[in-house]
C-alpha cells in the first residue's frame, strides 16, 4: 500500500516537473508501472500498445532498450531509465526523453528489467512500426524481411500505416505486396481478404503460395450423422474408401470418445494367456489355439464368463460408422475466403505447372547436353570408324583427373580451367593415338574383340587411376563466375555450370561439323569410312586417318571429362558411370551421324527427366525404365533415329 502511495506521489511529482499538458514517455510508463514491473506476457499487452500508439518520439528507444534488457528502474522513486553498467558495480543512467545523462548509481539502488522471451517478442512486434518508418532504407528492408519470415496479425496495421509515407518506390512496392499477404492471412474484414486473394491469384511466388496454402489446410472431424456441422466443411468423407479407411474412421471415433476402442490381437492373446487353466482356455486346449476360429471361440467363452472385456465385432464397427458422418474442415472459418483461396490456388497451380514443365525441359536439356558431350567422342570412334571403344569412359575420367592435377598446380580457378581444357585434350589425344597404334589397328576386322581388348584397357586404366589418386573423390572446383544460378522466377532456375555445359556442347557440335565438312582431315575420314581401299588408292593414308580420327574422338572425351568433373565427383569410376548411357546415346541416335547423336542425347535426356518427374522418389527405377524403353525402341528402329542409307550403313 505504501509503495503504491509513494509511486503515486512520485508520479505526481514527475508530472508536475515536466511541461504542463504534454505527457512524457516516463508518465506513460509510470501509468503502466505495475504491469511493466511484473513483465508477464499475459498482462503486458496494454502497456506496450499504449506506448506504441502514443506517437511519442522516445518510444522507439524505450522499446529497444527494454527489449535489449538495458532498462533500469530506480528503486527510490520507481522511475525508468536506460543505462549501461559502469565500473565499481555502478550503472550510468540516461533519460529516455532527451538522452541526458542522469548520473552514476550503485546497482543496489536499481532494478534491471529483464523481459522474458514472450514479452520480448511482443516488444519486437511493436517495434516493427518504427523500423518500417526508419529513415535508413536498409533497416526498413530488414524489417520487411523479418515480417516476411514470421508474419503476425499485429504487424498488419503498422505496415499499412507505413505505406503512405514511404519515399522509396521499390520498398513501397514490397510493403504493398507484404500488406496484401498479411491482409489475406489476418485481416478481420472478409471482403478485404477476398479482394486481396483475387489480386494475387495466379502469382508464382513462393510466399503467395505459402500464404494461401495454410488457409486451405483441413483436418478430419467426426460428428453424429443427424447433426449439421457448423464449421467450414471442405468435403464429406465416406469411410471405407481410399480417402478414409474404415480402420482410420473407427480410430477417429475412438479418439473423439464416440466409440469403444477395439482390442488388438495382442490384447486378445494376453487375455487368453491369462486364463489358461489346466492347459486349456475355456475348455479348448492351448495347442489348438493356433487358428483364428478357435481363438474366437475361446475368447467368446471368456467374454460370456465375464473374464474378458467384450470384443468389438465388425458389425459393431459398421454400425458405429454409419451412425456418424466424417468430414474435413478448413482451419479458416470463412467459407467465402476458402473458396476464393482455392480458386486463386487453382489458377496458381496452372501457372506453376506450366513453369515446372519449363524447368523440367531446361533440366532435360542440360542432361541431354551432358550425354551429348560424353557421347560425341564415342560417336566419332564408334560411329565414324566402326570401332567400339569400351575405354571411352576412362578417357573421360583421364580428362577429369587432368583438370584436378592442373588445379593443384595453378591455384586460380579460371586460369586453371582454361589450361586444363587443352591439356586434357592433349593427354587423351595422345592416349587415344597410342591405343589405336598399339591395339586397335590390329583388330579392325574383329569388332567384338576390339570391344574386349578395349575393355581390358579400361579396367587397367581404372585401376591405375585408383592406385595413383586413391578411391576417394577428388574435387574439381569451378571458377566463381560459374557459381550460382540463373533464376527466372521462383520455379524456373538453371545453374550457370549447366548453361556453360550446354554452350560447350554447342561448340563441340560446331567444331565437329567444321572438321568433318570443311577440313582435309574430315574429307579423308569420310572417304576412309565409306571405302578404305578406294580411299587408299586415291592417295589417302588410311592408317594415318584412322589414327588421327581416333585421337580426335579420345581428345574430345578428355575435354568432356573436364566439363563433367566440374559438377560430378571425380573418381576412378567416373567414366563407367557414363559409358552405358553414352553407348545408348550413339545407338539410339543412329551410328555414323552426328545429328543422330544429338537426337539420341536429346531423347535420352528428356526421357530420363520425364520418368524422374513421373516417379520422383526413385531415380534408380527411372534408369531401369529408361533402359527398358531403349531396348524396346531398338526393336522398332534397330538402326537408330537417324539411320544411314545405302552402303555406308553396312550389312
Amino acid at each position: 500500500m505504501r509503495v503504491t502511495l509513494l509511486a503515486l506521489i512520485a508520479l505526481c511529482l514527475s508530472v508536475l516537473s515536466t511541461t504542463a499538458q504534454d505527457t512524457t514517455v516516463q508518465d506513460l510508463m509510470q501509468s503502466h508501472r505495475a504491469v511493466i514491473e511484473k513483465g508477464s506476457r499475459t498482462t503486458i499487452e496494454p502497456a506496450i500498445s499504449a506506448l506504441a500508439e502514443s506517437g511519442l518520439p522516445a518510444v522507439q528507444r524505450v522499446l529497444q532498450k527494454w527489449q535489449a534488457k538495458d532498462m533500469w528502474q530506480r528503486n527510490a522513486d520507481g522511475l525508468f531509465f536506460y543505462g549501461a553498467e559502469a565500473e565499481d558495480r555502478q550503472v550510468r543512467l540516461f533519460d529516455f526523453a532527451d538522452d541526458a545523462e542522469i548520473g552514476l548509481f550503485p546497482k543496489s539502488e536499481l532494478t534491471q528489467l529483464k523481459p522474458n522471451s514472450g514479452v520480448r517478442a511482443l516488444i519486437g512486434a511493436a517495434l516493427v512500426q518504427f523500423q518500417l518508418a526508419d529513415p535508413n532504407p536498409e533497416r526498413r528492408r530488414a524489417a520487411l524481411l523479418a515480417i516476411q519470415r514470421d508474419p503476425d496479425a499485429s504487424q498488419l496495421a503498422p505496415l499499412r500505416a507505413s505505406i503512405a509515407d514511404e519515399p522509396d518506390t521499390d520498398i513501397r512496392a514490397q510493403k504493398e505486396r507484404l500488406a496484401q499477404l498479411l491482409t489475406i492471412g489476418y485481416d478481420k474484414d472478409e471482403a478485404q481478404r477476398i479482394a486481396a486473394i483475387e489480386a494475387v491469384s495466379g502469382s508464382l511466388s513462393l510466399d503467395v503460395r505459402a500464404t494461401l496454402n495454410p488457409l486451405l489446410q483441413t483436418r478430419p472431424m467426426v460428428a453424429p450423422a443427424n447433426e449439421t456441422p457448423s464449421a467450414n466443411v471442405a468435403r464429406f468423407l465416406q469411410p471405407g474408401t481410399a480417402d478414409l479407411s474404415a480402420g482410420d474412421a473407427y480410430a477417429m471415433l475412438v479418439e473423439a470418445g464416440l466409440a469403444t476402442a477395439r482390442a488388438t490381437e495382442a490384447d486378445r492373446i494376453a487375455a487368453l494367456a491369462a486364463n489358461i487353466e489346466n492347459g486349456a482356455v475355456a475348455g479348448i486346449p492351448v495347442a489348438q489355439l493356433n487358428t483364428t476360429e478357435n481363438r474366437d471361440r475361446a475368447y467368446a467363452a471368456l467374454v460370456a464368463a465375464d473374464k474378458a472385456p467384450p470384443f468389438v465385432t465388425e458389425a459393431d464397427v459398421g454400425n458405429a460408422l454409419t451412425a456418424h458422418q466424417f468430414f474435413e474442415v478448413y482451419s479458416d472459418p470463412s467459407a467465402a475466403v476458402t473458396t476464393a483461396a482455392a480458386k486463386a490456388l487453382a489458377a496458381t497451380d496452372r501457372t506453376v505447372g506450366f513453369n515446372q514443365a519449363l524447368d523440367l525441359a531446361l533440366d532435360a536439356l542440360s542432361l541431354a547436353s551432358i550425354f551429348f558431350l560424353a557421347a560425341i567422342g564415342l560417336a566419332i570412334t564408334f560411329g565414324v570408324m566402326g570401332v567400339i571403344n569400351m575405354a571411352h569412359g576412362e578417357f573421360i575420367m583421364m580428362g577429369a583427373y587432368t583438370g584436378y592435377v592442373v588445379q593443384q598446380i595453378i591455384p586460380d580457378y579460371t586460369v586453371s580451367i582454361l589450361v586444363a581444357l587443352p591439356a586434357a585434350f592433349a593427354i587423351t589425344f595422345a592416349a587415344g593415338v597410342a591405343m589405336e597404334r598399339l591395339v586397335i589397328r590390329w583388330l579392325y576386322n574383329r569388332p567384338l574383340e576390339t570391344l574386349l581388348a578395349t575393355f581390358g584397357i579400361s579396367i587397367a586404366l581404372q585401376q591405375i587411376a585408383k592406385n595413383i589418386f586413391g578411391t576417394q573423390a577428388r574435387p574439381l572446383t569451378s571458377p566463381a563466375w560459374l557459381d550460382g544460378a540463373w533464376v527466372l522466377n521462383d520455379v524456373v532456375s538453371i545453374s550457370y555450370i549447366r548453361i556453360a555445359i550446354f554452350v560447350l556442347a554447342l561448340i563441340f557440335l560446331g567444331v565437329f561439323l567444321f572438321i568433318m565438312k570443311r577440313t582435309r582431315l574430315g574429307l579423308e575420314t569420310r572417304a576412309v569410312t565409306q571405302n578404305p581401299r578406294m580411299a587408299a588408292s586415291m592417295g589417302i593414308n588410311p592408317d594415318r586417318v584412322n589414327m588421327l580420327t581416333f585421337g580426335l574422338g579420345s581428345g574430345i572425351a578428355g575435354i568432356a571429362g573436364v566439363a563433367i568433373g566440374l559438377f560430378a565427383k571425380v573418381t576412378s569410376e567416373l567414366g563407367s558411370d557414363y559409358i552405358v548411357q553414352s553407348f545408348m546415346t550413339v545407338v539410339v541416335g543412329g551410328v555414323g551421324n552426328i545429328w543422330g547423336t544429338l537426337a539420341g542425347a536429346a531423347m535420352i535426356g528428356f526421357l530420363q527427366k520425364g520418368i524422374e518427374w513421373a516417379n520422383p522418389s526413385n531415380t534408380l527405377a527411372a534408369q531401369t525404365y529408361m533402359i527398358i524403353f531403349i531396348i524396346i525402341f531398338i526393336q522398332f528402329r534397330p538402326r537408330g533415329i537417324i539411320a544411314l542409307k545405302g552402303r555406308a550403313a553396312g550389312d
Binding site: L443, R446, L451, F455, G456, A460, V580, M584, I634
Partner: protein, 410 residues
C-alpha cells in the same frame, strides 16, 4: 562304334575323367574326410569355381560357338542365385521364427508366423509385407522350377525381341549389357522386393540340415557342382556336335549365308541363348549357397564382362578352354586379390599385388586378344600338333573377318 558320340568327342571323356579325379582328390583331402589338407573354405572356393566353369561353358556356347557376345549371362547366373536364395532365406527364417514363437503362451497362427517371417526378412528395407515375387518362396519345388524358368523366360523374351529385329554384333552386346544394367539397377531398389542392396544373406545355412557341419556340407555342394558341370559339359558337347552344332558354327561365321541356305537363324540363336541362360541360372543356384550371400552388385555388367574375359583367356570355341579359363583366371584372381602374394619393392615404390593385379589382368587380356586369340586352349593344339587349315584368311572370328576363304577367289 566309330560314329558314337564319345568316339567323335574324345575330349569329353578326358574331361569327365579329370573332373571325377579332381572331385575324388578334393574329397579325400578335405577336412570331412579327416586328412584336412584342404580347408573347408578352400573346398567352398573350389566348389564355387566349378559353378563358374559351368557358366563359362554356357558363355562359350553362346559366344564361342554361336557368335553372340552376350554381356548378360551373369545376370542369368545371379537370377538363378536369387531364386534359390529366396527359398533358402524363407525356410531358414521360418525355422528360426517357429523356434522363437514356440515358447509363447498361446501357439501362433499361420498368419502370425508368416507376418513374423516377413518382418524378419524385410525389416532391413523398412517393410514387413511379402512382395508378390515371394509368392512361391515357401516351396522348394517351385523355387527350383523358377531357377530354370525365370532366366529362361527373360532370355526368351529378350532374345526374341533382339533377334527378330536382327540386332547383331556389337549392338547386341551393348543391348545385353543394358539389360544387365537395368536388372542390376532394379534389384538395387529397396522396393524391388529382393531386399535392395542388402541382397539375400545367410544362404550357407541349409534349412533342416543344421546338424550337418559346414565341412560336410561344402563337400555335398562340391559334388553337386561337379555333377552339374559334368552334365552341362556333356550337354554342351552334344549340342555342338553333329548337324546342329555345324549350323550354329555356321551362324557364327556367316549368318547371312546360313539364312540363305534356308535355316531359321533366329530360332537357332534363340534356342542357344535360352539354353545357355538356363545353364547359367543353374550354375548360379549352386554357386550362391556356397558363397552365402547374393546382392545386386553380383549382377552388375562388369561381372558379365569378366565372364567373357575368362572364356577369351581360356580359349573360345572349345568347351574345355572355357573351363580352363574360368578356373585359372578366377583362382589366380582370388589368389592375387586375397593379399597372400607378397609385394616386391622397386626402390621408391612397392608393388602391392592387391592394387596392381587388376592392371595385369586388363593388360594380359589385351595381350591374349592380340597375340593368342585361341587362348590357353591353344596350347593343347601346340602339344597335339593339330593345326587349323591354313586358309590365308583373317583370324577366326564371328564377324566380318571370320573364315574368309579368300583362296577361292584368288
Amino acid at each position: 562304334m566309330e560314329r558314337s558320340f564319345i568316339f567323335r568327342n574324345p575330349s569329353v571323356l578326358i574331361f569327365l575323367g579329370c573332373l571325377a579325379l579332381f572331385t575324388l582328390g578334393v574329397t579325400m583331402m578335405s577336412e570331412a574326410a579327416g586328412s584336412g589338407l584342404i580347408s573347408t573354405s578352400f573346398v567352398k572356393t573350389l566348389g564355387k569355381t566349378l559353378c563358374l566353369c559351368l557358366v563359362a561353358i554356357a558363355m562359350d556356347l553362346v559366344w564361342g560357338y554361336c557368335g553372340i557376345l552376350s554381356l548378360g549371362h551373369f545376370a542369368f547366373f545371379g537370377l538363378g542365385g536369387y531364386m534359390i536364395g529366396m527359398w533358402l532365406m524363407y525356410a531358414r527364417t521360418r525355422d528360426i521364427v517357429v523356434a522363437s514363437l514356440a515358447n509363447a503362451a498361446i501357439p501362433p497362427t499361420d498368419q502370425e508366423i508368416s507376418d513374423a517371417i516377413g518382418n524378419q526378412i524385410f525389416g532391413v528395407v523398412g517393410s514387413a509385407e511379402f512382395p508378390l515375387v515371394w509368392a512361391f518362396s515357401s516351396s522348394l519345388t517351385m523355387q527350383l522350377a523358377l531357377v530354370i524358368l525365370v532366366p529362361g523366360l527373360l532370355a526368351l523374351v529378350f532374345g526374341w525381341l533382339a533377334f527378330r529385329s536382327r540386332v547383331t554384333g556389337v549392338y547386341l552386346s551393348i543391348l545385353t549389357q543394358a539389360m544387365t544394367l537395368a536388372l542390376a539397377l532394379y534389384l538395387f531398389q529397396n522396393d524391388s522386393g529382393l531386399r535392395g542392396n542388402n541382397g539375400l544373406s545367410g544362404l550357407q545355412n541349409i534349412p533342416g540340415a543344421d546338424a550337418v557341419p559346414q565341412s560336410v556340407m561344402s563337400l555335398w555342394f562340391l559334388w553337386a557342382s561337379a555333377l552339374a558341370l559334368g552334365l552341362g559339359y556333356l550337354l554342351a558337347a552334344w549340342v555342338v556336335s553333329g548337324k546342329f552344332g555345324s549350323v550354329i558354327r555356321g551362324i557364327r561365321d556367316d549368318e547371312a549365308r546360313v539364312r540363305f541356305l534356308g535355316y531359321p537363324v533366329e530360332s537357332f540363336k534363340l534356342f542357344i541363348f535360352v539354353l545357355t541362360a538356363i545353364i547359367a541360372g543353374i550354375a548360379g543356384a549352386l554357386y550362391y549357397p556356397q558363397a552365402g550371400i547374393i546382392n545386386p552388385a553380383e549382377v552388375a555388367p562388369i561381372a558379365s564382362i569378366y565372364l567373357a574375359v575368362w572364356v577369351a583367356i581360356g580359349g573360345r570355341g572349345r568347351l574345355y578352354g572355357a573351363v580352363i579359363g574360368a578356373a585359372f583366371v578366377s583362382l589366380v584372381s582370388s589368389w592375387f586379390t586375397g593379399g597372400q602374394v607378397p609385394g616386391f619393392s622397386l626402390g621408391a615404390y612397392t608393388v602391392n599385388w592387391v592394387d596392381w593385379w587388376q592392371v595385369i589382368l586388363g593388360l594380359s587380356f589385351v595381350m591374349v586378344t592380340l597375340f593368342a586369340p585361341k587362348g590357353i586352349g591353344g596350347l593343347v593344339d601346340l602339344m597335339t600338333g593339330a593345326r587349323a587349315p591354313d586358309r590365308h584368311g583373317a583370324d577366326l572370328g564371328p564377324d566380318k573377318g571370320s573364315l574368309q576363304e579368300q583362296e577361292a577367289t584368288q
